[in-house]
Symmetry: C2
Subunit: 344 residues, 2 copies
């Protein structure tokens, strides 16, 4: 490590805002992590919301032994419809406001620091794209978040793809079973209502309540996964069903986008192999039947984010670094080259 | 019309190769049509195939009163997996060859003319993108071909999107009903097996064979459409069902890509309103249930190609013109500007 990596004005901050929690990461100019913080998001009012984000950032800077005057910029990811040029968000989970200028408000509170706002899965897709291309040459990638909801972030033709209204990748609300369960969006049989965390939890609860002989702990989707891992047949069948829907959804994604890589992240994806296996079984079933499927549904194109890696905050850091420019100094790996190739 | 439009060396040729027929269009330097030809494609052997394409082009040039030495370039669209830089096609409907260098072979036969090969729906998407942007500013568009099969061509971020293997937009093979009818690709319940021309025909035939009281003419999918137009209930129900699947597929497309416009082309789309109505009914049903759906599923984003317009040949012309460069002279509309903005 050389002296320049310790220059205080080179600090970057990445923020990933979720439904209830916010993750903050502080890095030095080499993009090496200095400190991480996870804290609660308040959603009583816009003021409380903003102040909870501000406090989390300050706490992380303290922990890193640095402060706002030393920060070059902050990247932020938030679920919702984001207009990056304006730094505004709409339909955010925590904010029932039609248009909220989050970047400007935070910048005002942080000495006019440059703040870069993106949809959370878009940041995560940037992180996935840069990491995958450490050892690959892939132009088209989907990051699929499977957690409380399901959504995708896309890098297509080497460029972050937002769509006409910043809503690209809302695959969780693709209708799969028009007569299926009710979804939070109001429709029926959306992918999210069939295969996200709460759907797995619901299927587990229904199995228990129906009196089936099962070891499922009703409280969480993890309960279903761990029961299945212990050989519980009822839990295994649930994962088979969920994996079937996810396999079908990822098949749709491959047919529609012809991506070179799919990276799975989010709470449910932390189950790793236990989630991946039924998905790949569904793919293998389709590939056996069809040469087109066989040529495109290659198991190796799906990767699961390691359980300890946070693509959302890392993506926020990369986006901030890319927007700020001047990353020629970064010596770790070939990050500079990959950042230069990425288009936002 | 000024003299320059009659300069013989400014002629362009567009070719759209289908399963059984080939369309050829010859234009002058202003992209005004000079002659059109439709003829049969021979598929007995690669030699017969190439010679049937060559003959169709020669016939169209004759008809236009021009010949190969006056042609600047030829754009060609073909269904299959195309590598444009190499001018090769694989898995083409007519050619059971693993990799066929169609552009080079034709160029050899046509005095080394520049030949630009693309997947057919990609060309059609370029045509749709240029036409839609005559009066709009749309960056993201899907052209959806509904005919013997179903597939999409995409322009995303103002650039033709091909995917990692040139296979983007194969939405006809997105699985919709895992227990559904057998698809030509080998799988079950693909969109194509539920809603393309042959599927409509099959549903009509099944209704007739089951002895239902219906005016459907069993021979074609048009028979189902015209019976429905005459108030035939059985035919109406078939179109309702097919429109439901298509509505769901186009909803998936909007959720995945967040396109600003969907242009429907292909044989089945010539039914126009009769096809569009059940699709929009499905969209309206979804929009009533969900604010997300209501904000994205706007009826006006779907357009049907006029029955007399051939997006495939026109797209081939535009792609050839764009690749050849130097289109500043074109005076009709703002074609020059739109060609300049398009990225291939």
């Amino acid at each position: 490590m050389n002296l320049s990596t310790k220059e205080p004005f080179d600090t970057l901050v990445g923020v990933d805002i979720g439904g209830t929690k916010v993750d903050v990461l502080v890095t030095d100019s080499e993009l090496s992590p200095l400190a991480e913080v996870r804290s609660k998001v308040k959603s009583n009012s816009p003021e409380d919301f903003v102040s909870s984000i501000r406090l989390a950032v300050s706490e992380a800077l303290n922990k890193a032994g640095t402060s706002i005057p030393q920060v070059r910029g902050i990247g932020i990811g938030i679920p919702g419809q984001v207009v990056p040029e304006e730094g505004t968000v709409r339909n955010a989970v925590n904010l029932e406001l039609s248009e909220f200028p989050l970047a400007r408000i935070l910048s005002d509170q942080f000495d006019s620091l440059p703040i870069f706002l993106e949809k959370d899965v878009h940041n995560a897709a940037v992180d996935a794209f840069l990491r995958v291309n450490e050892n690959n040459h892939i132009e088209n990638l989907a990051f699929v978040n499977i957690g409380t909801g399901i959504s995708a972030g896309l890098v297509l033709n080497g460029r972050l793809y937002r769509g006409e209204h910043g809503m690209a990748g809302e695959i969780g609300h693709s209708v799969f079973l028009p007569d299926g369960p009710h979804c939070s969006c109001g429709n029926f049989g959306c992918l999210e209502a069939l295969a996200a965390g709460p759907a797995i939890e619901r299927l587990g609860r229904e199995a228990v309540e129906s009196g089936k002989s099962t070891r499922i702990d009703v409280a969480t989707s993890q309960g279903v996964f761990s029961a299945a891992a212990q050989g519980d047949e009822v839990a295994g069948n649930i994962l088979q069903k969920v994996g079937g829907y996810l396999g079908q959804a990822l098949q749709n994604l491959v047919m529609a986008y012809d991506v070179g890589k799919i990276v799975l992240g989010g709470g449910v994806s932390r189950e790793g192999k236990r989630l991946l296996e039924p998905i790949l079984q569904e793919w293998s079933r389709m590939a056996e039947a069809s040469t087109l499927a066989a040529s495109l549904l290659l198991p190796e194109i799906i990767e699961v984010v390691p359980a300890d890696h946070k693509p959302g905050v890392w993506g926020a850091i990369f986006v901030a670094q890319k927007r700020l420019g001047s990353y020629d100094h970064i010596k770790s790996g070939n990050v500079t080259k990959r950042l230069a190739n990425l288009k936002l």
